[in-house]
């Protein structure tokens, strides 16, 4: 049976959004689809934690769902109830990896009453919000589907990991269910395109509203105006696939920091700026930057690392490296070890070139407080270019470029995740991984995310979601519902599946 929840104000976590008068909110109904005794109905006793007052595992799961739904519900506005068909059940899992959960829109609608754009797919919840009423009536018809893994932390399933059901972000080493739910619910609310990224084909030959906002910077063409092959090519145009969303663009300067950049100042033939990945250790990049000649660090090909360019052993050319920016290749040993090697050789900074093809830059994990130099990564292709030109004398500056924001294009538009090769489904339905600080809708959910919705809310607004926030100035494209058309009821007929 379904459990019904009314939306409550989301309190201090959304103080900024709540500062403005709230015209309304949206009611979210969690349909508990679990059988008795399992999932949301698991009777195992549990101690209340982090504001979650449930006294059984099932109750705590349900309260966490309700809380995440409440957070979104307080920010959006709709006369139509949103129903989420929810289950907590065993999903794919092994000792070392597994699925935490899955969610998305259950239906796509087009040409509904008051649709802002004809012949365009909208996620069901968004469509009902724009229509001003429930387009899919029925107590068991859901706009969003969600299923989460009940086996996490049990025998054979990531035994050292555990869900955190608290509502206060104090999850420590556990997995914060509310954060994962906020991310997944956003997909269900419409933060995704249903274009097939491997072919560029639109879903049933019809564009979706998310897709229509995607802009290829290289051709200055929106996806909605492209052919399928053009979209296919754009899907892997890393660093040049942006979201044309006025509200997001307006929020970028206050949300993201300056872009980590490797600026090549010589030789002139390769001069220019290269986007870099940053490290979780070492000195932070600054706007002034660290500049110097780039020198390839050489080390023995030994048990620590078979390559003489991997930086896994002590440098054999420390005298050449000292006082300069070192270049090594990714592979074999940890990023921390490479940094230690470069630092011991006297390098002022380190550039790690990826050893795998791909167009997105790597962030580098690890920790060692003894590392005091700046460490950045470049793509394999950029690394090859640098290495090929070393004989000509390469000089670089590693800096935070004040003219660009991380994760945004030159015009300040937010970039979408567009790796090459394509990652089906994930490509172009998330923010680019170069954005920093971490965003809710990046494909790699950061463990340090709190319960904010950062750029997700303005994007949903530009997709058409009426929000519990001040409206856009007149003339802004897309968005607000000006009138509600009260057409005939839409009977829904469920035909048999073959």
């Amino acid at each position: 049976m379904g459990a019904r929840f009314r939306i409550l104000a989301a309190a201090v976590l959304f103080a900024a959004a709540l500062a403005a008068p709230l015209p309304a909110a949206v009611t979210i109904l969690i349909i508990n689809a679990d059988d008795p005794g399992v999932g949301f109905n698991d009777p195992t006793p549990a101690t209340p934690i982090g504001g979650n007052t449930g006294t059984t595992v099932g109750e705590q799961r349900l309260q966490a769902f309700q809380y995440a739904a409440d957070l979104w519900g307080a920010l959006l506005d709709s006369n139509a109830e949103i129903r989420i068909h929810a289950q907590f059940k065993p999903l794919d899992c092994t000792a070392t990896d597994g699925t935490l959960g899955a969610a998305g829109p259950s239906e796509m609608l087009r040409d509904f009453p008051n649709a802002p754009e004809p012949n365009t797919w909208y996620a069901a919840a968004l469509a009902s919000a724009l229509a001003g009423r429930d387009l899919l009536p029925g107590t068991d018809v859901a706009e969003i589907r969600a299923q989460f893994n009940s086996n996490i932390g049990t025998s054979g399933c990531l035994e050292t990991d555990h869900w955190y059901y608290g509502l206060d972000s104090q999850h420590g080493d556990s997995i914060d269910l509310v954060t994962v739910l906020l991310h997944e619910f956003a997909h269900g609310l419409g933060f995704e395109t249903v274009v097939d990224p491997t072919t560029g084909a639109e879903f049933m030959g019809v564009p979706d509203i998310f897709e229509k906002h995607i802009l290829d910077d290289s051709t200055n063409t929106h996806w909605g105006a492209m052919t399928a092959p053009e979209r296919q090519a754009s899907t892997i145009n890393t660093g040049a696939v942006a979201m044309d969303s006025p509200r997001v663009t307006a929020a970028v300067p206050t949300t993201l920091r300056n872009a980590p950049t490797l600026s090549i100042t010589a030789p002139a033939s390769i001069a220019g700026d290269v986007t870099v990945g940053t490290a979780a250790f070492g000195a932070p990049l600054t706007t002034a930057g660290v500049s110097g000649a780039l020198v390839a660090l050489e080390d023995p090909g030994d048990a620590a690392g078979p390559s003489t360019t991997d930086g896994c052993s002590a440098a054999t050319n420390a005298s050449a490296v000292a006082g300069h920016v070192a270049l090594v290749d990714r592979g074999t040993c940890s990023f921390v070890q490479k940094a230690l090697t470069a630092q011991a050789a006297g390098a002022t900074a380190l550039v790690v070139a990826n050893n795998a093809a791909g167009t997105s830059v790597l962030g580098m994990a690890g920790s060692d407080s003894s590392i005091t130099i700046v460490v950045v990564s470049v793509t394999q292709a950029d690394g090859a270019t640098l290495r090929q030109n070393l004989a000509a004398g390469v000089t670089v500056n590693l800096l935070l470029d004040p003219s660009r924001r991380s994760g945004a294009d030159g015009a300040g538009r937010m970039l979408l995740y567009a790796p090459n090769p394509v990652v089906e489904g994930s490509s172009t339905s998330h923010w680019d991984t170069s954005a920093y600080p971490p965003l809710l809708m990046q494909p790699n959910l950061g463990s340090d995310l709190t319960h904010g919705v950062d750029l997700t809310l303005p994007l949903l607004q530009d997709l058409g979601w009426p929000a519990a926030a001040p409206p856009l100035p007149p003339g802004e494209p897309r968005g607000a519902v000006d009138a509600v058309e009260h057409g005939p009821e839409h009977p829904r007929v469920i035909g048999p599946r073959p």
Binding site: P90, L91, D92, T96, G98, T99, L100, A103, G104, P105, S106, E107, M108, L109, R110, D111, F112, P113, L135, R145, S150, S155, L158, D161, V180, H187, V194, D196, T198, T199, F203, M204, G331, S334, F335, N355, A356, S360, V361, L362, A365, G366, N420, P421, V422, V423, E424, G425, S426, H430, T433, P443, S447, G487, H490, P491, V493, G495, R497, P498
Partner: protein, 128 residues
């Protein structure tokens, strides 16, 4: 009264995720060797030591076979399309456009969360 103009079933849908479509971007595989190129950044842990290591040939074969079998067992997506009297069209997506949040242990002991397209492949473990 239930009225509808047309209900048709369409099999046009997204292809199943390709085996080779691994996430090459994204942060921080440290060291990278074990997970590079692996679907869903899967890593392998030596049960004796608990440490991440290169998978054995048998482990790789078993993993690949598991995914192949699961894909073969999954029917192609079939979408139910309903057209209403006023022209509204609704498509039941089923699970075709769900996003999975997956977790994988990293070689340095940390973990990585990643949002990827829903995979029909996994055979759910039994309830515990």
């Amino acid at each position: 009264m239930l009225t509808f103009v047309l209900a048709l079933l369409a099999a046009a849908g997204p292809a199943a995720p390709a085996e080779g479509a691994a996430a090459s971007a994204c942060p921080a595989i440290d060291p990278p060797a074990a997970a590079a190129g692996a679907v869903h950044m899967r890593v392998f842990v030596d049960p004796a030591t608990g440490r991440v290591r290169e998978p054995t040939d048998d482990e790789l074969r078993a993993y690949a076979e598991r995914r192949r079998a699961a894909r073969a067992a999954a029917p192609p997506p079939v979408f139910e399309v309903v057209t209403y009297p006023d022209g509204m069209v609704a498509v039941d997506l089923g699970d075709a456009f769900l996003f999975d949040v997956r977790i994988a242990r990293q070689p340095d002991g940390g973990r990585r969360l990643e949002c990827v397209p829903h995979s029909a492949s996994p055979a759910p473990a039994p309830e515990k």
